[in-house]
Subunit: 222 residues, 2 copies
DNA sequence: CTAACTTTTTAAGCATTCTTTAAGTCAGCT
DNA sequence: AGCTGACTTAAAGAATGCTTAAAAAGTTAG
């Protein structure tokens, strides 16, 4: 699977350098230099990692992080020249995942990025929730070792559920994450898609929370 | 669920300090001062986070981490006085998750620990009152580990009681908190809902205070 | 101690809302 | 053209939330 990373940094020298080193790892890197561009990228695209400078023209990194966290749980690495503890604490309070201070070695940045990717499961070739295993590279799926054929859209939905196993995904989230913010259609598509998906899975795997959303059941050991 | 953390640090002053601050978060902390003790703890017990000093008598932190990774994927935060990049890189190559250099503020250590716990899914949000556990993320509930299926409205009510365990919630409060100030219906709904809820819980969990309201029993009195 | 009264419990049933299901349209691809 | 997958629509079905009212339990006063 491809790893997509977003770098938000206004200093073009640093931006170039960071992008270069990340790309050397085989990762796909987008970059932007201000808060507004970053914000619209947050909405449009899903990244496996976001690297955020704090000092930015317009919306600063901390505010950006807060906005991001309203819609995504993407791992975030904060990158800054500010070496005071206050800023670092604020970043973690805003649910950052890591915080590095300039000047830093590029190797270390890359290693820290890799650690975040590894821990968030982005580097895994397969993702699992209970008896369900997904192979994002091939759009393949298995339940108890038995192959399940899914269409791309079905896979996308199921992947969202597996990556959030045990959490309710409400209708709105489902709609925006799968069909995007600008989707013009109606909610019927959710129900139609969920039926198709359920038809291919053993019953009980996806639970309905009426009036709220759906939830992938993970086995609890009792 | 309880969070278990292991701190491996030979300097007792630092060890005490770290443990103290982690415990303040409500986490359960084990500590040891050398590599051999650490290693046997790795095997015996599962931790949600391990904090490892690098300079240790006997097996050092890097070797310890390598050994750990053969059997466990526990998040690891390395903690060290060594400020050279080589050691940091080696730590990440050994699959550490974070690396902080002494001297560091305790607050930041705690925040970084929290970030790792959050990302690894150990900080699953749940609220508890006695034997009753609620999972707001899934609208799920357990009593003595046994699953209880609740409707969203029932969950909402029970959540209010759990968050105010042991306190009486009077009818008016219940009505306004759950159904809102502008609710047009009559008080019958309270009683109907409470019955539904009680039917799903062991008897005695919700006590009636006649003429006043209801109260979640937090202590079993026999 | 009992009768009258108040409050809660319980049960039945209805209405609404949300979900499921199925059939059908449309667009892109082979 | 025929197939497949994505989406729309609408009817059928089910769960939930709510109302109502009678039965039960508890309280108070004579």
């Amino acid at each position: 699977m491809n790893i997509n990373i977003l770098v938000v940094e206004d200093d073009t020298r640093i931006q170039d350098m960071v992008c270069k080193f990340l790309r050397k790892e085989g990762w796909i890197v987008d970059a932007c230099a201000n808060g507004d561009d970053a914000l619209s990228l947050f909405y449009d695209k899903t990244y496996q990692l976001i690297i955020l400078d704090i000092m930015l023209p317009g919306t600063n990194g901390q505010e950006l992080l807060k906005e991001l966290r309203k819609i995504r749980d993407t791992p975030v690495l904060m990158m800054t020249a500010l070496s005071d503890d206050d800023n670092q604490l604020r970043a973690f309070n805003n649910l950052a995942d890591d915080y590095v201070m300039k000047p830093f070695s590029m190797q270390i940045l890359v290693k820290r990025a890799e650690a975040l990717l590894r821990r968030s499961g982005a580097l895994k070739k397969e993702i699992q929730a209970g008896k369900l295993v997904l192979f994002p590279e091939t759009y393949g799926a298995q339940y108890e070792g038995k192959k399940i054929i899914l269409t791309p859209k079905e896979f996308e939905i199921l992947e969202l559920f597996v990556r959030n196993a045990g959490k309710v995904i409400n209708h709105e989230t489902l709609l925006t994450r799968i069909w995007g913010y600008d989707f013009e259609g109606n909610e019927g598509i959710i129900h139609a898609s969920m039926k198709k998906l359920r038809d291919k899975l053993p019953c009980g795997v996806i639970r309905t929370i009426k009036g709220v959303g759906y939830c992938l059941e993970v086995e609890s050991d009792d």
